[in-house]
């Protein structure tokens, strides 16, 4: 009887298992599960390249409680494609300017590769750690495609033998013909200019690309091609790509979407 009571269950092989043995097994399973979770968490933490912690922004001429962005906290990892989505006035561009170091948080902080932007040289940060792509391309119209890319290399202080060759290589990478290198950017189409802007942002091999409505001025076909480039950069080159957008097509392509709400909705 005593033996009968002791063996309350059978294992996968049909062997009888006592209550005591079940207890030990459960404990072991739990420990393994915990370890696995911690490992996953650590791996994820290691991948986080940019962390926004309770960031708020208020324009200098705004009233005390009139925030353009309030208490935003997002994490971004390498190798992933992100979208920051939101209606007009939700502070998408403000967030982009905070991430790119063009503005500073009123409250909270942004941490890049373990360092707060507050403690970093933001000019250096912009010309070596991140690449920025704008909706309106922001290329210098009096320069050729390759000159725009080389200018960015110069700003970074990149020391390579042939900057022009490197520029052409980058152009080809984003789907532009080498023959466009000597063409003034104003003679290129919108999609081509955007590709030049992407090539420029890649010229010093940054860890993160930030794009503000990069396909806003482009047709569907070109939009898809540009998105494909960003996807490759994230998945194949392990870059963190953040796209600020309100395009559903973009949102369908990315790995993760962060939604921004209007400050008053948040309140």
């Amino acid at each position: 009887m005593a033996n009968k009571n002791n063996y309350v269950s059978k294992d996968k092989l049909g062997k009888n298992i006592s209550k005591k043995e079940i207890k030990v097994k459960t404990k072991e399973d739990n420990e393994l599960k915990e370890k696995k979770e911690i490992k996953e968490k650590n791996t994820s933490a290691k991948n986080v390249i940019l962390s926004i912690k309770n960031a708020s922004y208020r324009y200098s001429d705004a009233e005390e409680d009139d925030y353009a962005l309030k208490n935003v906290s997002f994490d971004f990892e390498c190798g992933k494609l992100y979208a920051i989505r939101g209606r007009s006035g939700t502070g998408k561009t403000t967030l982009l300017s905070l991430i790119s170091g063009l503005e500073k948080c009123t409250e909270g902080e942004i941490i890049f590769a373990g360092k707060s932007l507050k403690d970093m040289n933001l000019d250096k940060y912009r010309n070596s750690d991140i690449g920025i792509v704008f909706q309106s391309y922001n290329l210098l119209p009096f320069m050729t495609a390759s000159e725009n890319i080389i200018l960015s290399m110069d700003a970074n202080g990149l020391k390579i033998k042939s900057k022009k060759e490197k520029a052409i290589e980058l152009m080809e990478k984003v789907g532009l013909k080498a023959s466009y290198a000597n063409r003034k950017v104003l003679r290129l189409s919108g999609g081509e200019q955007q590709r030049v802007a992407i090539a420029r942002s890649l010229s010093y091999n940054p860890k993160m690309i930030i794009a503000d409505e990069p396909t806003g001025n482009l047709d569907k076909q070109t939009e898809s091609e540009i998105l494909e480039i960003f996807k490759k950069l994230a998945h194949e080159e392990n870059k963190c790509v953040i796209i600020v957008t309100h395009s559903q097509n973009v949102c369908d392509t990315v790995d993760k979407i962060y939604d921004l709400k209007k400050v008053k909705d948040v309140n």
Partner: protein, 482 residues
């Protein structure tokens, strides 16, 4: 390198604007080169002209001080002024030696004069009242005006300023005259006096004082007075006809122990700089010079010959200042417009991580490159034109100066003062030779000045770009553009 490379690209890209800036800087540089060349050459001329003169200081009456409280309408006032004049403490040879012992004085000489009557010779009669001999404009001439002759003793050859200036020239002289001239009773007399008294070299001459003491002198030289210095005299004789020249020691011997024979000393001090005259005067007062005396310099005379050059120099300075102010404002405005036009470029460059400092340096470098090219061209053109421009300016100055002189002469009844300028002073100044041309030279000094002025101007006018770049928010610029 990045800054210079970008600056050069921008210069090539904005050809029109940079050519405009270049032309403005070229005009400024040209004007500056000409004015600087004229100014520096004029300053050099003035300096060299002044250095040709000894910087001389003499002692004269402080008339302003003496006339204090003087009321000519009151008999009492006149009396007190006379008393004041009589009570002025005169200075002696030992005082002069004491004064000369100063850090400001390089050397000194003096004339020592005394009035004597003829014993073996007769005074050459002079018809007009204008018969005061030269060399006694200062000091106290007690008994000389009432005596026949003026015995003037010189301390050294340097003191014989009339001979140095050419107012007097020696017509006859004994072989050893200059060996003995300053040691003993030897004299030089005017050739008119010699002829009037039938005197020749080595003759003995006897003179006496008012107490009847007789003094004997030997003639070792006969001089004549130049006509130029004699034009003012209405006499048949020259001004110096009754002036007998000897050495100061001879005069000292005469006056020693003879209280009635009062001599007048006229010292001339050669100083190291006109800037020290006030300090020297204070030192003289401390050493016992009566405060009714004042120090007078020959600076004005030395400067009178270069007045035309000085006018041009000051005109050049004014012109330079005006050019720089106008040029600076124009450049500043062009820079402001330039920055406004290039706002988008600034925004893009800031966005891709070019620092404010680098951007500012790029904008300044662009202006500096254009300026250096324009300054070089401007200096070249200025160097070629400066001589012609300066001489044409001087020609106008000289003609207007001559007109003024003629007008002054007319005011004085037409007597030509100008010709007697050196001699009138009577202290040995050469007749002033005014400059009538300037060879303006663009030398290394002018180039350094031009470069400093040009670059300062560029930096001042770059303030617009520096301030704007600091102020601009790249995001705002790019948003505006979008």
């Amino acid at each position: 390198m990045f800054i210079l490379k970008n600056a050069w690209i921008s210069i090539k890209r904005n050809k029109g604007r940079n050519i405009l800036i270049g032309i403005i800087i070229l005009i400024i540089a040209c004007a500056c080169t000409i004015t600087l060349a004229i100014k520096n050459t004029a300053v050099d001329l003035i300096d060299s002209y002044k250095s040709a003169y000894d910087k001389e200081v003499t002692i004269g009456f402080n008339r302003e001080n003496m006339m204090k409280g003087f009321d000519p309408s009151q008999e009492e006032g006149r009396e007190s002024a006379r008393e004041k004049f009589d009570n002025i403490a005169s200075y002696t040879i030992s005082d002069v030696e004491k004064f000369a012992d100063s850090d400001y004085i390089e050397s000194y000489y003096y004339t020592y004069g005394v009035g004597l009557n003829g014993n073996s010779i007769e005074k050459a009669e002079i018809e007009s009242n204008n018969d005061m001999p030269n060399g006694f404009g200062h000091g106290r001439e007690n008994n000389m005006s009432s005596t026949d002759f003026t015995l003037t003793g010189y301390s050294s050859q340097d003191a014989m300023s009339e001979f140095i200036s050419g107012a007097y020239t020696m017509s006859e002289i004994t072989d050893n005259a200059w060996d003995i001239a300053f040691n003993g009773n030897y004299i030089f007399i005017n050739e008119e006096l010699a002829s009037y008294n039938n005197l020749k070299l080595n003759d003995k001459v006897k003179l006496e004082d008012e107490d009847g003491n007789v003094y004997e002198f030997e003639i070792i030289g006969i001089f004549k007075e130049n006509e130029e210095d004699n034009q003012e005299s209405m006499s048949m004789f020259s001004n110096s006809v009754n002036t007998i020249i000897t050495n100061s020691e001879a005069v000292v011997k005469l006056t020693d122990g003879n209280e009635n024979l009062k001599a007048s000393i006229h010292p001339t001090f050669i100083i190291n700089s006109y800037d020290n005259v006030e300090k020297l005067q204070d030192e003289f007062y401390e050493k016992g010079l009566d405060e009714n005396f004042i120090l007078q310099t020959n600076e004005e005379l030395a400067e009178s010959g270069v007045s035309s050059v000085k006018n041009i120099s000051s005109f050049s300075t004014s012109f330079l200042i005006i050019t720089l102010i106008i040029g600076g404002i124009v450049l500043f405005v062009i820079n402001m417009i330039n920055i406004r036009e290039r706002k988008y470029e600034i925004g893009v460059l800031r966005t891709i991580g070019i620092s404010k400092l680098k951007l500012t340096m790029q904008f300044v470098a662009e202006l500096v490159i254009v300026s250096v090219i324009a300054l070089t061209l401007g200096a070249g053109i200025g160097a070629v034109s400066s001589k012609g421009v300066s001489n044409s300016l001087l020609a106008n100055e000289i003609s207007s100066s001559n007109e003024k002189t003629e007008e002054i002469n007319k005011n004085f009844g037409g007597i030509n003062h100008d010709g007697a300028r050196g001699g009138m002073h009577g202290k040995g100044m050469p007749v002033v030779q005014a400059y009538d041309s300037i060879d303006a030279v663009v030398d290394i000094k002018v180039l350094i000045e031009l470069l400093s002025i040009g670059l300062s101007l560029v930096l001042v006018s770059s303030i617009a770009s520096m301030v704007s770049i600091q102020r601009f928010s790249p995001l705002t610029i790019l948003k505006e553009r979008s």
